[in-house]
């Protein structure tokens, strides 16, 4: 008899099916055995978790994290990343290929899969590089990488800027029905830039690039997508112009999608004041107008996914003059809390918001995750929707503590996280 866990009296939320009702959920071994309003009494022999009306949803999928491992273990390891993700209700992460060595060879994908099993925490997936060594010059073995488990192809923080190379990446990937993800920033315009052009960057005297660099690259890519018929995903959307481009492309019926990170809907460029290097991000923080339009993009569905872009940086790379500091912020742990601001402000209904961190990324990446389905692995997040608290950098589980949200009051807290029927985080009082 396999072990049974019963979540009693939970607010069951499943964006994939639209389910939002109070009931129970029974886990047997690794799997979801039953759930719904009809489950109001715990079976004998089951361990009972009284949810007290807390939300129980599919575990979140964070489709953009920097793994740290291999190569930057001093900033993050799969173990600390997994602990941070679990604390944020995340049950699966997808790592960028900017490891050392980079994920441009099937052997690295297999290495990460093995390390993921060893860590035995959240599920770890990886993107393959779109070009060899992410140099934008030669195709990678998309077919073999995909067979090894790569869920998409991207050069991470580098845009594939050469138009003919991007065309070939898209065309070649389309032959394997592989998703291509692009960091949409025209590098010729943003070379050396650490901020968005405008009053704040001017007053701070920081090298800056124009916000249009994002929409320019996106527009070019959309033309290439139309030409090649590839599946395309724009990452880290941060400007209103890009949101309009995406909305237009979707109206035209293109198979495109996009994500953004909490920083781009919860912060603007004023966070750069006092040269706070934790607010040095890539793409850089934008104007308040752009921030609002990113929120509108999330509301309208032009932006499909919220991903954390979790990137641990240590003191050595952040305690520097602003322009010399590395970009990036940790965030997988705080993604849900910051996203819930949109719900609490009445901007996005709860299920729509959760869809952007569960079923939407699952569908894009072709993963059988992100939904409450009988017989599927029990990857679950239990959270108190309303609990007020403050983000505390010192209290983060990730190895690096570089959050630009330190001290921010938020509403909502993850109580427990389960992967494959195992409780990997339990923060209940």
């Amino acid at each position: 008899m396999s072990e049974r866990t019963f979540f009693a009296n939970a607010r069951l939320l499943d964006p994939a099916s639209g389910l939002d009702e109070t009931g129970g959920l029974l886990v047997e071994g690794r799997m979801i055995a039953d759930f719904g309003a009809h489950l109001d009494t715990a079976p004998e022999d089951a361990e009972v978790i009284d949810c007290d009306g807390f939300c129980l949803s599919p575990g979140l999928i964070d489709m953009r994290v920097h793994l740290g491992e291999p190569g930057a273990e001093h900033k993050e390891t799969l173990t600390t990343l997994s602990q941070a993700a679990a604390k944020g209700g995340v049950t699966a992460v997808v790592g960028l290929p900017n490891t050392d060595p980079p994920i441009d060879d099937a052997a690295v994908v297999e290495f990460l899969a093995r390390r993921g099993r060893e860590v035995h925490g959240v599920k770890v997936f990886a993107y393959g590089a779109a070009t060899k060594a992410m140099e934008g010059k030669r195709l990678t073995e998309v077919g073999l990488l995909k067979q090894a488990g790569a869920v998409g192809f991207t050069d991470g923080l580098h845009a594939v800027s050469d138009a003919i190379m991007m065309r070939r990446v898209l065309a070649y990937a389309s032959g394997f029905d592989a998703l291509v993800l692009q960091h949409v920033e025209e590098p010729a315009l943003t070379q050396g830039a650490v901020a968005t052009e405008g009053e704040i960057a001017t007053r701070l005297g920081l090298p800056a690039g124009p916000a249009i660099a994002e929409a320019m690259m996106l527009e070019r890519d959309l033309r290439l997508v139309e030409l090649t018929g590839a599946r395309y995903h724009a990452t880290q959307i941060s400007t209103g112009a890009a949101v309009s481009e995406l909305a237009g492309a979707k109206r035209r019926g293109l198979d495109v999608s996009a994500d953004t990170a909490p920083a781009y809907f919860a912060l603007n460029e004023t966070s750069l004041m006092d040269y706070r290097t934790f607010a040095r991000l890539s793409p850089p923080l934008r104007s308040e107008q752009d921030r609002r339009e990113v929120v509108q993009g999330l509301i309208s569905g032009a932006i499909d996914v919220i991903a954390s872009d979790h990137w641990g940086q240590d003191q050595e790379t952040k305690r520097l003059p602003f322009a010399q500091a590395e970009p990036g912020a940790v965030g997988t742990e705080t993604m849900l809390q910051l996203a819930l601001e949109l719900y609490h402000r009445g901007e996005i209904p709860l299920l729509d918001l959760l869809a952007k961190m569960t079923i939407n990324p699952a569908n894009l990446l072709g993963l059988e995750l992100g939904a409450l389905v009988l017989g599927r692995p029990a990857d679950l997040a239990l959270f108190d929707l309303d609990r007020p608290c403050r983000i505390d950098a010192d209290n983060l589980a990730s190895k690096s503590k570089n959050t630009p949200f330190d001290g921010r009051p938020v509403q909502g807290m993850v109580m427990a996280t389960m992967v494959d029927g195992r409780m990997i985080y339990d923060g209940r009082d």
Binding site: R138, L139, V142, L144, G175
Partner: protein, 321 residues
């Protein structure tokens, strides 16, 4: 043989499959059959083209095609000369036309021309007063290759109509693929092309062919699997990432071939890259591979082409005389 002896082609040149009618293709193939028989018999030589001068003008290196044309001309009794003009990097156009005029002044009866630029053979044909056979121009056409492929198929299977022919390889840069698609579609075959999207040219479906991006799928229930050579320069990451990935998904081996019909035949225009587009085990299987037969058919097909084209000339020169 009277019909074969009396017929000729509408055009004085053979520049491509594009302008051939089904009956002209059949005529070429039927006459080729006659030359296959002759080549296999004791007397391989006739004096049909005695006194005729054929010049093989190869602006691009070739062993197989040039030798095949040379042998064809000699077996028909013609005087055959091979020249390989240097292709100057600058002013190619001028060099080409100068060469054409020089050749014309030599009063050749027939030129066989291969050139790395699409359309160059036609340009020469417009400038000379003799017949011109296209021995392959750029990524445009290679008509005698398509004819010899068709002959090899027809002799083994008995027909072209209704066959499923899967062509796999660098379709985008291949004149062999283009000529074969045209010929096979004209003769009523079902044609599929198989390659990564980076090696498939735009709007190829306008040829009436079906496109696949996976060899194992593309050869399903095929009667003929035609593998094309992958050029080394395509393998440096710009069109495909590596030889090993290409072979994994597009190389013909026993496992992928198992999806084709049990008696499916394998073809390759040569030269083969063993272990890149084709496994040696498959290429050398005498029961399945038509590869050696293709070479044999090549000589016969070229004899038929030279025979038919010089018939037009005879009439013309006869009138003038």
């Amino acid at each position: 043989m009277t019909f074969l002896e009396a017929s000729s082609l509408a055009s004085p040149h053979l520049l491509g499959i594009e302008n051939l009618t089904p009956s002209e293709i059949n005529l070429l193939l039927d006459l080729s059959e006659h030359y296959v028989d002759m080549n296999r018999s004791g007397s391989k030589k006739t004096d049909l083209l005695r006194g005729r001068t054929i010049i093989n003008v190869f602006f691009e290196s070739s062993t197989r095609t040039r030798t095949s044309f040379e042998l064809a001309g000699k077996r028909l009794g013609a005087d055959v000369i091979n020249i390989s003009p240097e292709v100057s990097a600058v002013r190619k156009g001028e060099t080409l036309l100068d060469t054409a005029l020089t050749l014309n002044a030599m009063h050749a009866d027939l030129l066989v021309v291969r050139h790395p630029e699409s359309g160059a053979v036609q340009l020469i044909a417009e400038k000379v007063s003799c017949s011109v056979v296209n021995g392959g121009d750029g990524a445009h056409e290679h008509p005698t290759q398509a004819l010899l492929d068709a002959l090899a198929i027809r002799r083994r299977v008995g027909r072209l109509h209704g066959l499923v022919v899967a062509i796999s390889g660098d379709i985008a840069h291949s004149r062999v693929a283009r000529s074969n698609m045209l010929l096979l579609k004209t003769m009523g075959a079902d044609v599929r092309v198989i390659a990564p999207p980076t090696l498939i040219p735009a709007d190829i479906d306008r040829y009436g062919v079906e496109v696949f991006h996976d060899l194992a799928e593309g050869v399903r229930d095929a009667d003929i699997v035609m593998m094309l050579r992958l050029q080394q320069e395509r393998m440096r990451g710009s069109f495909i990432p590596s030889t090993s990935e290409y072979f994994h998904f597009f190389g013909l081996d026993r496992a992928k071939l198992a999806n084709a019909k049990p008696d499916a035949l394998i073809m390759h225009p040569g030269p083969m890259n063993r272990g890149v587009e084709i496994d040696s085990d498959v290429a050398d299987d005498i029961n399945r591979s038509l590869i050696q037969e293709q070479v044999e058919m090549g000589v016969a097909v070229r004899m038929a082409c030279l025979d038919l084209l010089t018939r037009n000339l005879s009439n013309n020169s006869g009138d003038e005389a």
